[in-house]
Every structure is written in C-alpha cells, then in structure tokens.
Point group: C2
Chain length 207, copies 2
C-alpha cells in the first residue's frame, strides 16, 4: 500500500510526457524493486494489462486511485501552521492524491490571519464555529508533542473521525476514531540500522 503513491506519482509524470503504455518492468526499474513486486501490486488493483504492451497509463492511474480510495476528494483540517504544517501545505503532490486542505488552524495569534500557500490560518478557538456541524474527513496534526493530545480532542469533538498525526506521541482516542501516526524518526531508525549492518558486516537488521 505504501508503494501506491510512488507508482501514481511516476505514472502522472509519464502521462504528462505523453506515454500511453507502461510495463511493470519499467515501473520496477524506476523504483529499484523487483518487477514481480510491481506486477503483484498492480494485480492488487484488479486492472488487467495488455500482453506484449503493458498497462495503459491512464487506466492504471484510475485503478490505483480507486484501489487506495483517492478517487473521491478528501477534505482535511490541518492544525499547526509551523514549519512542518507549511511544508505539507506546500506539498504540491497532495493534489494528485485528491487531498484538499480545507481549513488551517493555529493557536498562535501571530500566525492567525496569515496566508500560507493560499490557505488562511484560522484561530483554533474558532474551530467549532468554522466546522458548523460539517467536519472535514481528516485532521492533520502538526503541532508540538505537548499540544497534540489537546488538538486531537478538539478535532474529535468537532466530529473528525480520522487523524493523521505527525507529533511524536501516541494519542488517546475513542475506538471509533482512527489514527495514522507518522513517525519521522522511523525512517532514520531504519537507515541507522542499515548503516550499522553495513559497517559491521552483520546482517541483523530488518524493517
């Protein structure tokens, strides 16, 4: 599943270049993975390919979007307009995944009212009024570790059922709320383990 955005991103590039067909081998070679992996992943989407030619780029884009659930737009409220929040708002790739940052909140009065990448920063205290009974699908938490739980509580109180949490804490949420936690340091742990494994000549590390 985590490879899907990469396939999609690559396919959109290829489409823009005017390429009509793509083979699993071509995608695999770009991503430095075995071509069987790419073929299996594509098979997951249920798309039938064309022997001798590969897969139609346009069809594969649609198939991946449907498989991941990106065919319909997803509305989001981003909380925390700091460096990380700004980075996400400026991440042009999210458009391809149909993720739309409908609201941006911050608690800092110095930030409220500013416009970041086309999004006006709203006061987090106004969240209930802004939502007005119609909560966005996803809450994206880009605040400090200390503030994260409180922000999560507010979002949940506002009716948000899905959280994407970039803070380095585990959130306490009701059982009907789903949290996707993004552990930035996780990648560094994997990398550090690879380094250790290379430099000691041992093969002890796995993902």
């Amino acid at each position: 599943m985590r490879r899907m955005p990469t396939y999609l991103h690559r396919l959109l590039c290829l489409q823009q270049e005017g390429q009509l067909y793509v083979s699993s081998a071509e995608l695999a070679s770009y991503m430095n993975i075995d071509l069987i992996v790419a073929r299996k992943d594509i098979a997951m989407t249920g798309l039938a390919g064309h022997k001798r030619y590969g897969y139609k780029v346009a069809e594969l884009i649609e198939a991946i979007r449907c498989y991941v659930g990106w065919n319909n737009g997803t509305s989001a409220a981003l909380v925390g307009a700091g460096a990380l929040g700004s980075a996400l708002l400026g991440y042009s790739d999210f458009g391809a995944y149909n993720l739309c940052f409908e609201y941006v909140f911050d608690a800092d009065p110095a930030k409220v009212g500013k416009v970041i990448h086309g999004h006006e920063v709203l006061d987090i205290a106004d969240m209930p009024a802004v939502f007005g009974g119609e909560a966005p699908k996803i809450g994206v938490i880009c605040v400090s570790n200390q503030a994260a739980q409180q922000v999560a509580d507010s979002l949940i109180a506002g009716g948000v059922k899905y959280l994407w949490n970039f803070a380095n804490v585990c959130l306490n949420v009701p059982s009907d709320v789903i949290v996707q936690r993004e552990v930035i340091a996780g990648g560094f742990a994997v990398l550090a383990a690879k380094i250790k494994s290379v430099e000691t000549g041992q093969e002890t590390a796995e993902e």
Copy 2:
C-alpha cells in the same frame, strides 16, 4: 525496527519522570499494540528483564540505542532549508537519537547566511570545500523533486554514502550508496485505505 524510536521516546519521558522500571504491558498499552509485540521487540535488543518488575528503564534505553545503532553520534548534512528542512532542524527529538546536523546547505542566495534553529545555512556550491575530504555520514535531502537528483549527486561526489531522501522521486545512485526514502504520502495512502475499508465495510486493505 520502526517502532524503536517510539519506545525510546517514551522511555526517555518515563526516565525524566523518575520511573525506574517499566513492563512490556505498560509500553504496549501506551502504543496501543499487543503486549506480545512489545515483548518480542524488546527481546530483539537482547536485554534481559527482571521477572515481576519488568525492565530497567535506563538499561532498556541503552539496549535500544545499541540495537538501532544510535549509541554513537551520526553526523548529517541537510540540504534544502525550506519549510521541511526547517521542521527537521527544529525537531528536538533527533537529539535523543544522536543525530547531529553538522551542515545545512541551500542554493537560494536569500537563505544562505541565515541561521535556522542554531544552524547557519551554507551555500551548496561550497559543499566540497566545507567537507574538505571528511564527509558527514548522512545526507538529508529536503529539496524539490526537480533538484533532488542533482543534490544527491553532489553529496555522493562529496563522499556521503547514506542518503535520507524526503523528495518524492526515486534517486539513481551507485550500488555502494544506500538511500532511505521517506514517502510522506505513504501514510496518507494507508489512512485513505483504512477510511475506504471502514466506510465500505470491506476488509481489503493492508499496509
């Protein structure tokens, strides 16, 4: 492996609170995982626990650091002092993982010379001179998708063997260079799939 930073972060908090022992059940409950998972993970580090009391917090911190390879400091050069780069530089948790951003580079003359979270931004053109034959261990790539490959080439030319790539492209590197790619959208794909699975009542999605 990806859970290790979370254990470590939690343990450091507990240590600061003065707690001496921790049980696998306690860690698991905090992370909302099965306690068997936590126990297996701890077993991977090779640390022996104390029956009836659990694990010594200080010992477990050391064991995890050694297991992941975070006991020795890791030097890094961060390239791209934009929003994402700033966010990483401000991420106080990296200190706990012994990651030290020794150099920060950017190509934008408007950014060169600025100080971000205590790090002076250097001109990327000066990289060879700055390294002076002694390259940092890791290159952290926080530039645009377009610039990423070129930055990777420069880092590799400067002697860097390990790359942590936050750009949404797959890099082309020699076989002795290891790339850890951070796909921010990957978490969103997993979340979108969970949403789809919940809302359709189907169980089709996996990680």
